[in-house]
Symmetry: C2
Subunit: 510 residues, 2 copies
């Protein structure tokens, strides 16, 4: 296998891709090198953390001088890279201009001849809102070209990609992924997502990734083709993407825009650099604004790369620590549509659970999203499958009270020292969201029903009791709620964080 | 005035403190310099972003050599700082060891003689869980010493601080702040919070800050004494703190710990540095682990400072952009107790609103916490005070439907292009939390009641209608819900993000 997975968390992984020019550790970001333009050299990019770059074989092919040089000395020499080089095929130009001056066979062979480490067929990127007929037609053509490309590339040492298309049609995306997998390519770019990313349609991107991942073998290296903003890296890795490519670093720099994981800033609006990369520690925004355009562009381009590779390291570290969910739940705050998009994952709980390793070091609650981590589902099942030895049990929501089981938000029933529930770090029960209380109660009710032949005494604090009463939750008859004498120590009978502490109305103003 | 406020957001501000050795821009972090130890020089700290440092006058006073040198050449020369220098008085030693070898008058005069830019009386830090009697007694003594110190310091050019104590007793904290303010010091440290921060009792810290801020004049420069972890800076600034001091950078480094805004990492658990400061771009964790202890400690200390000053710049930039709430709502995800602590702010809505400037550029929703920003309360009041010209009105929750008013989550009724509600960036209504829907409906109901003499037609999507039905919300009689013919385009009748998509029970396993 060309791709080996060495660590996992959520659906994300750290992997190793073997290429003729060396191994690449994933998640990996491939900066785009424009063969026509000297900007930031692959050598400098290596220092920033690049392990592979990407360039465009169609641009090289179309330029007589570049073409000859690439054919004679190879693409690595042409762009002065001692890192592995992936090449794009002209598909992007096809999408933007509607046509290209080359056919699939020619451009694939050309990529082989110039020594590309990862070659791409001339697939057809269907725009997001194309008709189904168009998407089907484009996909049929794409699949033929992929088949042809893979045959051609057998005579070259590099890897060959099979891009996945299908616009916004889930069944076409799945078909594309299934057919691609049958061809056994070395590399799986998910194509056609740039227009979605550009218009912040993150939910569509999340859905596409999850549909595709539900079909691809887990061992397939997946490239989110065209995704270059660090804002989306953590989310995409958590969904199982391994590669990104960034033209963004240069395009944004050209436009005086400054990348951060929280979104894009315009240089003119920056008073302080929210970063300590070598560029941002050597300059202030005011100094940079005064530099000549060309110099400014290079500095901004470098910052954009530094911050992008920083995020890649942050993600790798999170995978090693097995807290990628926490990282993603943090990163999605960068934009409300990212927040929305992540909330789709609850519809793919089974898929995520299949990929997510079950052993976690801990559980840090970051908000309602945390309720939907696979570890929570796993805990609920484990509790329901518990066989009880005895007849009568005490369940208490008070942390320091002796009881057979504890009741806590999110996880519900907790027995002993189980990981991660027994060691979960949760906000005060008084301040946690209703959803977290509800999740816990659903587990409690399931557990009581499951053990209908036993009896239970429930010692619950006010937050739990008021939720049960307000929402009319049906507590099975084998359990009796007992108000502990000192239950007043939990004085809250507010609606938790949802509660209102100021009335909407005139009385406030009067 | 010694302190001038130049920009504001939430309760946070960018300010300028004048000292004999130059101006300091706030929020400012003062790295602690140990006069006994050469570690990282003030000169290097300046490059990292330091504008002021802090050292301990008691340690200098106790050491014959240091004392003479400081008296002859001044404290700036002693610690080789051309930045302003604040001096602590020995109160910390008093707290840790229970006693010190100096009295208030002596140590205050000493600070004056060695040229301290900000001197501190020998106040008495009461531990968090002390009895009220002890807290009262300590406070009475502290107030006397502050009075004495302020008189003494009239003959020196530097600034004099009046620390605020009172342990966890709100009325004592407020009394301390009120009395301190009467003495008209130049600087207001909030003392006695280190044990709380060390044990992650963030909610107690938040409450103390808010109680103190409710009493202090808005123009008072406030120092959260002993807070040095960048994880809490954004939150503390948003509550109105202007100064921090960090011994953490060195103490943590000594212990092979690595600071991040997400919390502390141990060097041994780092596989990748989640940072691109000059230290982290020049070394890998593996390289650093192999360095001699002393060298490693300096590098970690430098990283810890770089990342701390980066966070200060991030915060300043957020204040300038007026999105400090968004930043805090992001940072609190670092620990569930930070999340809890921030949720206290809803109890201080009026206070925060008094400080928060009303003109905002935008509104980005990051989660339920966003519902409690002052701009939301302001919007609700504005809507209730609207006088309507006409008899019949249409309110629609469908964005592209013509209507007199829109209904949106969080803000509720939106009229025209009002900032920020009319331009709020919210997640899809299908995926937003129940609280956000509830907030919107409360505004709707208040608005309908307020205009009981008018009639309204409500065109609501399923998410709204199902919430109204499930929660039994009483829609006033002057409004009629009309199901638009095409309301099926909002197909969701799930419980939004709270909804369950998998049943807790055996049926799932079978």
């Amino acid at each position: 296998m060309m791709f080996e997975i060495v660590a996992k968390d959520a659906m994300g992984r750290i992997g190793k891709l073997k290429t003729p020019h060396g191994n690449v550790e994933t998640p990996a970001l491939m900066p785009v090198i424009n063969p026509n333009l000297k900007f930031i050299s692959p050598k400098e990019m290596r220092r920033m953390g690049a392990e592979i770059v990407i360039t465009n074989s169609y641009i090289i092919y179309k330029n007589e001088g570049l073409r000859q040089q690439a054919l004679e000395k190879g693409v690595h020499s042409l762009i002065e890279s001692d890192l592995p080089v992936m090449t794009d095929s002209g598909s992007y130009q096809l999408m933007v201009y509607g046509d290209v001056d080359v056919d699939n066979r020619t451009i694939v062979e050309f990529q082989g001849k110039i020594g590309s480490d990862i070659a791409v067929p001339l697939d057809i990127p269907t725009p997001p809102d194309a008709s189904k007929e168009k998407a089907e037609k484009d996909l049929a053509e794409t699949l033929e070209r992929e088949d042809e490309a893979i045959r051609i590339y057998r005579s070259f040492t590099g890897l060959i990609a099979a891009p996945i298309q299908g616009s916004l049609y889930p069944e076409l995306r799945k078909l594309s992924a299934r057919k691609a997998a049958e061809l056994k390519p070395d590399f799986y770019p998910i194509g056609g997502v740039v227009p979605l990313l550009d218009s912040y349609r993150f939910a569509d991107v999340v859905r596409i990734i999850l549909e595709v991942k539900s079909v691809l073998p887990p061992s397939a290296p997946v490239h989110l083709f065209g995704a270059g903003h660090p804002m989306v890296f953590a989310l995409a890795v958590a969904l199982g993407c391994d590669f990104f490519d960034s033209a963004a670093y240069a395009l944004y720099a050209k436009d005086d825009r400054y990348l951060t994981v929280q979104g894009t800033k315009r240089l003119e609006e920056l008073h302080h650099f929210p970063c300590c990369c070598p560029v941002c520690t050597d300059h202030t925004p005011d100094e940079m604004k005064k530099l000549p355009k060309e110099e400014r562009e290079i500095l901004l381009g470098k910052h954009n790369l530094w911050v992008s590779f920083e995020e890649i390291r942050v993600i790798k570290q999170a995978i090693k620590e097995k807290n990628l969910f926490e990282l993603v739940e943090n990163r999605i705050r960068a934009h409300p549509y990212l927040l929305s998009s992540w909330r789709l994952v609850r519809e793919f709980g089974d898929l995520i659970e299949t990929h997510d390793p079950s052993a976690k070091q801990g559980f840090f609650y970051t908000g309602v999203e945390s309720c939907y981590r696979p570890g929570v589902m796993r805990h609920h099942r484990r509790i329901l499958n518990l066989s009880l030895d005895g007849e009568r049990f005490v369940i208490s929501s008070f942390p320091d009270e002796p009881a057979d089981f504890k009741l806590i938000p999110v996880f519900g029933i907790v027995a002993g020292d189980w990981y991660p529930a027994g060691h979960a770090e949760l906000p005060d029960v008084e301040y946690i969201e209703e959803e977290a209380i509800e999740k816990g109660l659903r587990c409690l009710v399931g557990f009581l029903r499951e053990n209908a032949d036993k009896t239970f005494e429930l010692k619950l604090s006010k937050r739990w009791i008021s939720f049960i009463e307000r929402e009319g939750i049906d507590i099975p008859e084998n359990a009796k709620i007992k108000f502990p004498e000192d239950h007043d120590r939990d004085v809250s009978d507010k609606k938790g964080w949802m509660g209102e502490n100021y009335p909407v109305g005139r009385q406030r103003n009067s």
